[in-house]
Symmetry: C2
């Protein structure tokens, strides 16, 4: 049972945590490989135990052949698929933390199952430490937007703009060059074609002919292997068939990854944050459900995403065998990244580059400003929740206690005067009312600040992904200019250039459609969100007024 | 000009303040004797300058004959009468502070005038330091009540129970022994007699036949000596004559002292605190006005105090010459302390000592509990005021700013969609609404928490004085028991004992009447206070609701 591992790199554990520092070459005894998030637990020669990144060590004695086959510097998905913590999709979000809720049931969902052999290699696992020799840091700042655009432009052909996503790995599949240069020759069946049309607002995705919704409900703790492994499963019910499917977070995670690979011009809504706040298991699980519902709602309302094959498979598949087949098919999909644009049918009209540039420039400015605002609102929701549940509640209760004790003190000398005892009881009731108002403050965030925060978590993810979409588009435009230069230098045929120009336009059409979709979507959605929030705030302060009015009446009787 | 002083005692200045430590025998050069509050400023041989208690030094070179005549350990009233800072009358209040608002106009009121030669010696001036060799600390804890009672009982004949009042000094005038033993022979004119009668609640002060009120209004800054010296004058208008008189704080101060000397069984309402909170001069002055109004209201409603000669003189005198005469008369009054009881006319019935003991015991318990509660409510009002004006306001404004910036960010990408620009303006208005609500939080305390705090400042003073009244009564009862023992030992005549018993009953009647007065008074007053407070709170939260509802409507249009 005592599997030995050898450290491949130095790792400095963060002091005051369960992490343990290891030194390259050091031998350790493996204690637990089921920590999740790419961490293992081991004991060093001094007898100290602690966690270290699984990717930093290699096994010496095989106890599990699957694990020993895994390349240590790039752990296979079978290690990483179990990861419930690494959900930091929102680009530019650099408050990457780990292990804050290791025992809330969210991280338990790690048992191996049908997905254990799939997926691209994960390079960024557990490499959040600066000493990590192989991987970039996951939290590249959003404000580096322009810098990043330049970078991605010069790296065109690799996974431009996705460098910041910890679950993205370089892959020749994720490319746009073959599409742009016309070397990609795929026949897209009509049923898979996606149309961009012009309406009064500009170019838009052809609207959904059969809109539908999906409810995410009843998160429940399920278990496997006689209760040894437990996980949370969410019940999804699409409105178009009313057939419930059960999905775990890892299924969402896998789906999210497929969507991000495929739609590089369309921001994919984020999954719940690991750092979600909540005071007990049930509350945490419920907030994750709400955030998953936000994810699902956004997907359903998106004319392209809502029709995508992998999403439909995720929503409807109830059969294990079909599931595996669909999964393999999704993973073999080679219309990823800009190559996906081959599925698009756009207006004939050639776009004016200067006009496109103007719109994308404006979008840049907007996104930078929006990113700051959306994060500020999100942080404000977290701060207000803490204040309602902390100082506001406590302050009210202190007021209540002061009045209550005053009533008590006065009642010590009530004597025979009737009006005195009426007064003391009214004052005690006043005390009780403020203590109750304190409780109302404690309860309130789940009706206003938390839902508002959940909505802005979504927007943070969407807005955080937009720079990638813009970057991918900008890279294509750079490539087009390169081709124009080549043609000017007689190094490229005019016919081929024309093909490049047409395809660049398709990419531009897609970006414009997406920009318009986001604008229309957020206009409706944020309006509804703000209205709901304000109604809840009004209800709250009205309840305070009611409570105080009832208290005041105690003095009149 | 360089007056030298010599330190008579060691004094340790508080670090981090303008205080300077001095050592017994040390020579200092006097810089400023007009600091107020019994403090002088000087320079030591090292060239350091700082403040020290005037009472701790003696002058070596006379520059002002009046000052050199003053005994250093007991500075004369001419130094202390100008003191605007030492207003800590509430016994047991040990948060004695000094110099926090030295330049708010309150402390400017120090110029010498008609009062400069009056008054008993002040022993406790500036002796708040533990090393002070002569004086007890002003802030003896209230919880030492029983201990204090025992002490005062054994010290009967001196100024029992007033040891904690910094402006009280031992004086043969302030005694009760001569009254109790029947050696005081004064003919009280009928017009000065005060009656105690029995009604359904027990023994009470005969009610006021002509109730009246007095408004304290228009505090204004006046000046003397061509503007060199400025002070705040308050305009008092009694309802019985409607003739306005102008009174400065020092007049109140002098009055308060007279009342405390004379009525040792009746708590005198407190004057404004030095530590009153406020953010600017006008606000400070207004709050002091409110607290003076509380003082005046309590005086007017008290059947005994409202009729007292010194108070009537204070309320009505407009003539300088008559003022001085009345002042001298008040200072010559020898019916002080328990001797005042010779003015009382009580029911014939002898009181049952056990019954009196029961009532006073209950009152002890009540007062101890009430003291804690009243202080807690007072502190809570201060804390809530700070919270409303600090974090609550700031938090609202942060919420407002987050929304406003969100609206701004969204407006960067408004484009041609009309609904978008409506949304962004609604969101910006939402931001504005929360910023406005923040301002409402800032304003609110002056409508609820501050008036509540002012009322509880009054109660803190009253409740803090009750132990003294109880102590004075208890001391009389002890003396009575001593006389009973002496009679049993045939050392005192039965006739004299009977006189002592009768007079002790008068004292008990007075205490019972005062206990009942306080009960009836507070029942009405606290009820009205709580109702007013709750109405203001309700108004506030209703305004918040209105603001939010108006904001919500912006989204519908």
């Amino acid at each position: 049972m005592s599997t030995q591992v050898q450290a491949l790199y130095d790792f400095t554990g963060e002091p005051g945590t369960t992490e343990m520092s290891i030194t390259c070459g050091e031998l350790l005894t493996l204690i637990n490989t089921e920590i999740g998030e790419g961490w293992w637990e081991g004991r060093n020669s001094k007898g100290e135990t602690g966690l270290f990144p699984a990717a930093y060590v290699r096994k010496l004695a095989a106890e599990d052949s699957e694990h020993t086959k895994a390349a240590p510097a790039a752990p296979r998905y079978d290690q990483a698929a179990d990861d419930w913590g690494d959900q930091q999709y929102s680009a530019g979000d650099n408050n990457y933390q780990r292990g804050t809720s290791q025992d809330d049931g969210w991280d338990d969902d790690w048992d191996d199952d049908t997905y254990s052999e799939i997926g691209p290699a994960h390079q960024n696992k557990a490499h959040h430490n600066q000493q990590a020799p192989l991987a970039p840091l996951p939290g590249m700042p959003i404000n580096d937007y322009n810098h990043q655009i330049d970078e991605t432009a010069s790296n065109f052909g690799s996974t431009v703009g996705t460098v910041r996503k910890s679950k993205f790995a370089p892959s020749s599949k994720v490319s746009g060059e073959s599409y742009l240069l016309g070397t990609l020759n795929v026949d897209v069946p009509d049923s898979d074609k996606v149309y961009i049309v012009q309406d009064e607002e500009g170019y838009v995705w052809s609207p959904l002919s059969h809109p539908y919704s999906v409810t995410v409900a009843s998160p429940k703790k399920e278990s496997k292997f006689k209760g040894i492994k437990s996980f949370i499963a969410y019940q999804l019910t699409p409105s178009f068939n009313n057939i419930q499917v059960s999905r775990r977070y890892k299924h969402f995670d896998w789906l999210h990854e497929r969507l991000q690979e495929k739609f590089t011009l369309i921001p994919i809504p984020p999954l719940p944050d690991k750092q979600i706040s909540g005071r007990y298991d049930e509350q945490l699980i419920e907030r994750r459900r709400v955030q998953l519902q936000e994810f699902v709602d956004w997907m359903c309302r998106h004319p392209v995403l809502s029709k995508s094959e992998v999403w439909q498979h995720f929503l409807t598949c109830t059969d294990e065998k079909r599931w595996k087949a669909g999964k393999r098919q999704a993973e073999r999909d080679n219309l990823l990244g800009l190559n996906y644009c081959i599925s698009l049918v756009v207006p004939e009209k050639a776009l004016l580059q200067s006009q496109v540039d103007h719109i994308t420039e404006q979008c840049h400015t907007f996104v930078a400003s929006m990113d700051t605002s959306v994060k500020a609102v999100g942080n404000m929701c977290i701060a207000q929740t803490k204040k309602f549940q902390g100082p506001y509640k406590t302050d009210c209760q202190k007021v209540g206690e002061a009045f209550y004790n005053l009533g008590n003190a006065l009642s010590l000398d009530e004597g025979t005067i009737v009006s005195t005892s009426k007064l003391t009881s009214a004052i005690k009731l006043t005390g009780g009312a403020y203590i109750e108002i304190g409780r109302m403050y404690d309860e309130q965030p789940k009706y206003d600040w938390e839902p508002l925060g959940d909505k802005f978590h979504l927007y943070k993810g969407i807005v955080g992904s937009l720079p990638d979409a813009l970057g991918n588009h900008k890279a294509a435009v750079q490539k087009k200019r390169e081709c124009e230069r080549l043609t000017a230098e007689n190094k490229m045929e005019v016919a081929q250039l024309n093909e490049v120009l047409r395809r660049t336009d398709v990419i531009s059409y897609a970006l414009l459609a997406e920009i318009n979709h986001f604008k229309a979507e957020r206009t409706t959605d944020i309006k509804a969100t703000m209205q709901k929030f304000l109604r809840q705030q009004i209800t709250f302060y009205k309840k305070v007024v009611d409570k105080l009015e009832a208290t005041l009446r105690q003095y009149d009787e």
